[in-house]
Amino acid sequence: MRTLDIGENTALRNAIAVVDAPVRPSPLSSTLTFTRRALLKIKHVPEQLMDVTLTPVIFTLMFTYLFGGAIAGDTRTYLQFLLPGILVQTVLIVTVYTGFTLNTDITKGVFDRFRSLPIWRPAPIVGALLGDTVRYSVASVITLGLGLLLGFRPDGGVVGVVAAVALLLVFAFALSWIFTILGLLMRSPNAVMGVSMLVLMPLTFASNIFVAPETMPSVLRAWVDINPVSALVTAVRGLMAGTATFSDVAWVLVAAAVITAILAPITMRIYRTRS
C-alpha cells in the first residue's frame, strides 16, 4: 500500500478538515421545505388530483339531477342546499390522502432518512399537512366553479364564499390529524385508505350534507346533531347564504381547535416512537 506524498496528504486533510457546521434550519424553514416537497409531488404526479376533480363532479351532478327533483321538488332549489355540503364532503375526502401519502413515505423508507436529518422533528408531518391545503383549495375551486356553472348563487357574495372556504380549510387541517395517525399506524397505504373511508362514511353521509336532519329517523338525527361535520356544513351554508351566526362559526373553530389540541400531540408521540 503506497503512502501519500506531502501534497496529496495536505489536500486530503483540507477535504476532511472540521469546519463550522451549517446553521441548523429553523422550524419554520424546515416546515416550508416539506410543504414545497408536498407541492412538488402534485406537480410531478398530477394524476393524484383526479379524485379531487372527479369526486365533486360526480356527486354534484348525480345528486342534483338524479335525486334533486325528488328531494326538493326541483333541481335549482336543491343545488342551493347541496353545493355547500358537497364542498365540505369533497375537501374532507381529500384529507384522507394526507395519511395515504405519509404511509407511502414510511413504507418506502423516506421517513427514516428524514429522521436522520438535523431538522425540527415534526417538520415532515406539519409540512405535508400545509402542502395538502393546496389540494383542498383546488378541490374547493373545482366544486364552486361547477356549482356556479350549474346555477348555484351564493347570497353571501365573494366575502361569504371566501370565509366559508377558509373555515373549511381550518377544519380540514384539524381533521387530517386523524388520517395522519392512521398513516403512522397502518401497515400499507391501501389499509390507510380503507380504514379512513370507514371513518369518513358516518361523518359525511350521516350528516346534513344531502338532506335536512328533520327527514331522518330520530336515532340517526341524534347522531347528526352532534356530528361535527353537520356543524361545519351549517356554518359553511350560512356563510355562503349570508345568514351565518357567530355561534355557527365559533362552534366549528372550537371543534377544530379541540381536535388539533388532542390529536397533534398524539400524532407526534406516535411519530417519535413508531416511525
Binding site: 348525480m62 339531477y65 338524479l66 335525486f67 325528488a70 350521516a206 344531502f210 338532506v211 328533520e214 327527514t215
Partner: protein, 251 residues
C-alpha cells in the same frame, strides 16, 4: 361430443367457478355488502326526504335487488378476463373439453352466486321494513325476470371479459353496470328527473326490469314485464352469440 358430455363439462366448470367464488371471500362479501350499504343509506338517510310517508323502503328494494344482481353478474367479466390472461383456457383447449362449457360454466356460476347475494339483500330488506304483498306466483315471476336479467348481464360481461386486455380493465365494466341503475327508476321516479335524463331513464332496459319486479312484489299492476323479458332475452342471446364468436377468435 354428445350433449351429455357438454352438460357434464359445464357442470364441472360451474363447480370450479362456484369454488373460486367461495375462496375469494372479499369479492363475495363486496357483492353483498355494497348493495346492502346502499340500501341502508337510501332507506335510513335519504328515505324520509325522498318519500315522506315512510314507505320508501318498498319503492327502493326492487332497485337495490337489481343493482346487486347487475353488479354481481358483471363480475363474470373479471373471472373470464382472469382465465384468458392466466392461461387456464389454453390448458383447457388442449383437453377434450367442450369449448362452450368454459363460458357457460362462468355464466351458470354467476347465476348461482347472484341467487345467494339476492337472498341476502332481500333478508336485510325485510329487516329494514320491506313488506311485499306478492303471492308465491308473483315471487316466482319476479325471480324468473331477475334470473333472466342476471343471465343477460352475465353473457354481456363474458363478452367484455374476452375483449378486455387485463383483469383491471374488465373490473372497470362492473362499475359502469353499478352506475346504470341510478339512471333509471330504481331509486327515484323518472318524472322527478330533468327532461333530458327522463327520456333515457324511461326507455332503458333497467327501468323496465325494475318496474316489472316492483309491480310483481308490491302487487301493483305492471305493464313492463313483457318488455323486460324481451329485452333480457335479446341481450342474453346477443351476449351468448358474441361470446361464442369472440371465444373462437381468441384461439
Amino acid at each position: 361430443m354428445t350433449a351429455v358430455d357438454v352438460a357434464r363439462h359445464t357442470a364441472l366448470l360451474t363447480g370450479r367457478g362456484i369454488r373460486r367464488s367461495t375462496r375469494e371471500v372479499d369479492a363475495l362479501l363486496l357483492a353483498v355488502a355494497l348493495p346492502v350499504l346502499l340500501m341502508v343509506l337510501f332507506v335510513v338517510v335519504f328515505g324520509g326526504a325522498l318519500r315522506p310517508d315512510g314507505r320508501y323502503v318498498d319503492y327502493v328494494v326492487p332497485g337495490v335487488i337489481l343493482l346487486c344482481a347487475g353488479y354481481g353478474a358483471a363480475q363474470t367479466a373479471v373471472a373470464v378476463a382472469g382465465d384468458m390472461t392466466e392461461g387456464i383456457v389454453d390448458r383447457l383447449r388442449t383437453m377434450p373439453v367442450a369449448a362452450s362449457a368454459v363460458l357457460t360454466g362462468h355464466v351458470v356460476a354467476s347465476m348461482a352466486r347472484n341467487a345467494l347475494a339476492m337472498v341476502a339483500v332481500v333478508a336485510v330488506a325485510l329487516a329494514l321494513g320491506f313488506r311485499p304483498s306478492a303471492g308465491p306466483l308473483q315471487w316466482l315471476a319476479a325471480a324468473g325476470i331477475l334470473a333472466l336479467f342476471v343471465l343477460a348481464v352475465s353473457w354481456v360481461s363474458a363478452c367484455l371479459g374476452l375483449v378486455a386486455r387485463s383483469v383491471e380493465a374488465a373490473s372497470g365494466f362492473t362499475f359502469a353496470v353499478l352506475f346504470l341503475p341510478y339512471l333509471s327508476s330504481a331509486f327515484v321516479p323518472t318524472e322527478t328527473m330533468p327532461r333530458a335524463l327522463q327520456g333515457f331513464a324511461e326507455h332503458q332496459p333497467i327501468t323496465l326490469v325494475v318496474e316489472a319486479v316492483r309491480g310483481l312484489l308490491l302487487g301493483t299492476p305492471t305493464t313492463t314485464a313483457g318488455a323486460a323479458v324481451l329485452w333480457c332475452a335479446a341481450l342474453a342471446a346477443a351476449g351468448a352469440t358474441g361470446a361464442a364468436v369472440l371465444f373462437r377468435r381468441a384461439r
